[in-house]
């Protein structure tokens, strides 16, 4: 059953692929022109491939293979939104041309990596690595190595694993050190000789981070305690402070079967919506004072908590064993207004540029589900091989993405 669905999927894909292949292989002079503003990349985690998709026509255009271990992969885009840089778990960076659907460059730069970011001027790619722990900078055109910045050592003497890497204005990157309880801010103005400002003792076990859409704030989620660590880049002298401290209120922490992911759109209007750890709640903070204003009970451990681009609703997916469900929170009333069951193992959600639709990946049903955000009804499904992350090119022009 699954096999035949997949086979049909592959045939459909091949049919859709044909025009682009023609473009790629023949580079025919008559190839139709197109923009990249409505394109995106879908990670197919087990097969080491990505699909290039078109979110205006809700269709797959091509599959690009040979990207290695994509079990935890993330993507950033070149400023012109033509190239996708795919960061694979195996430490490789793959540069994919969305127009020709070709892998144009691939470098293996670490043995275990988790993601990356692109500098505010689009010239520098930064990779965050688990092993060896640290950050490496690359030229965005050639992927030539510019600098290697080892992370401070954790308790075992090894350089810490780096999490939450995000770009800030002024060619800076912020990230957190899981094993060393730090937030570091790297200035890549001279990318061959970056400067690092370290903030220590920011809280126990930062597991991920995000930058606000204006690039002012960097927030690291803490696994080892109830709370998050906030860095205000307008007032870096003030250091890092704790926000939402003690949100668990001493309650027994529930087991976490998958770590939340902070990166993404979580600020809706005046509020930031953030996943609690070990509580089945979404935390709501005022996005200036960062005081906690509410908690929204949800059905499981939140993984992604993402605001629609317009900020009116926030979508939440969940860790195992609730990963077949998605909940939609109404921002003004801060209540769950809908629980969807779109497929098994919903790993990621991505809004179209202005949020008329959201694309979900269902790993265990080998499909992408497109949902109309106005009606909350399913618009279409597309076949994909164990899809995980979905990344649309609007990210090319956003900070912290």
């Amino acid at each position: 059953m699954a096999g035949s669905t997949l086979a049909t999927g592959r045939r459909t894909l091949t049919r859709l692929l044909a025009p682009l292949l023609c473009l790629a292989l023949a580079a025919c002079a008559s190839a139709p022109l197109r923009g990249t503003g409505d394109l995106g990349v879908v990670i197919e985690r087990a097969s080491g491939s990505v699909q290039i998709v078109d979110n205006s026509h809700e269709q797959a255009l091509a599959r690009v293979q040979g990207l290695g271990d994509l079990s935890h992969a993330s993507v950033v885009f070149s400023r012109d939104a033509r190239y996708a840089y795919v960061f694979g778990r195996d430490g490789a960076i793959s540069k994919v041309d969305l127009l020709t659907a070709r892998l144009v460059k691939r470098v293996e730069q670490a043995s275990n990596s988790i993601g990356g970011a692109i500098s505010s001027d689009g010239r520098v790619i930064a990779a965050q690595n688990y092993s060896p722990g640290g950050v490496k900078l690359f030229d965005a055109d050639s992927l030539a190595l510019l600098a290697s910045v080892p992370a401070a050592a954790g308790p075992n003497g090894q350089p810490s694993r780096v999490v939450g890497l995000a770009d800030l204005p002024g060619k800076r990157f912020a990230y957190a050190l899981f094993d060393a309880d730090e937030i570091d801010v790297l200035d890549a103005s001279t990318p061959t000789a970056p400067k690092v400002q370290r903030f220590q003792h920011i809280g126990k076990q930062p597991y991920d981070g995000l930058a606000s859409g204006d690039g002012r704030y960097f927030i690291a989620g803490l696994y080892g305690e109830d709370g998050l660590a906030l860095f205000d880049s307008w007032h870096s002298d003030a250091g890092v402070r704790r926000i939402l401290a003690g949100y668990g209120r001493g309650r027994q922490a529930l087991p976490v079967y998958k770590m939340p992911h902070l990166r993404g759109w979580s600020i809706a209007g005046d509020y930031a919506f953030l996943p609690a750890i070990g509580q089945h709640e979404v935390l709501v903070a005022d996005n200036r004072s960062w005081a906690q204003v509410a908690t929204v009970p949800v059905l499981g451990q939140p993984v992604f908590v993402m605001a629609e681009p317009g900020g009116r609703r926030v979508w939440v997916n969940f860790a195992f064993p609730d990963n077949d469900k998605v909940q939609v929170i109404d921002v003004p009333t801060r209540q769950v207004i809908k629980t969807l069951q779109p497929g098994r193992a919903i790993l990621h959600m991505e809004f179209t540029p202005r949020g008329d639709a959201v694309w979900l990946s269902s790993r265990d049903d080998n499909k992408l589900v497109v949902i109309d955000t106005a009606t909350l009804s399913q618009r279409r499904t597309l076949p994909a091989l164990e899809p995980s992350g979905i990344f649309f090119t609007w990210r090319a022009s956003r900070m912290g993405m």
Partner: protein, 111 residues
């Protein structure tokens, strides 16, 4: 954080498990075995990596697990490890199933 009593509890559980699992664990019948492998790679893999080479969780390769007593690994899977992100999987796995997974991991047959 005082995890002393918890740790002692885990040691006791490990000893108990050790006495119970002297012989090789039998493979569960299909389709459960396939389900367990999927769980191992996808859900354990969320922290330990799809290829089990480690991530925020430690590596689960035969080299990384060499010399570790199977019983304590089984106890870690079932009870989790307080003070670390490792959660207890007892709600989703039987003791025999955890033993089988540990055996697969240690022998490198988890692929």
């Amino acid at each position: 954080m005082d995890s002393g009593p918890v740790r002692r509890g885990i040691c006791l559980a490990a000893l108990l498990a050790a006495s119970l699992c002297q012989q090789a664990a039998a493979a569960p019948a299909e389709p459960r075995a396939a389900e367990l492998l999927q769980l191992l790679h996808n859900d354990c893999g969320a922290c330990h990596g799809l290829s089990l080479k480690g991530g925020l969780g430690s590596p689960l390769t035969p080299q990384a697990l060499a010399g570790k007593p199977a019983a304590s690994l089984v106890a870690t899977i079932l009870n989790g490890r307080p003070g670390t992100p490792m959660p207890p999987w007892r709600p989703f796995l039987s003791e025999e199933e955890a033993q089988w997974l540990v055996q697969l991991l240690q022998q490198g047959g988890a692929r």
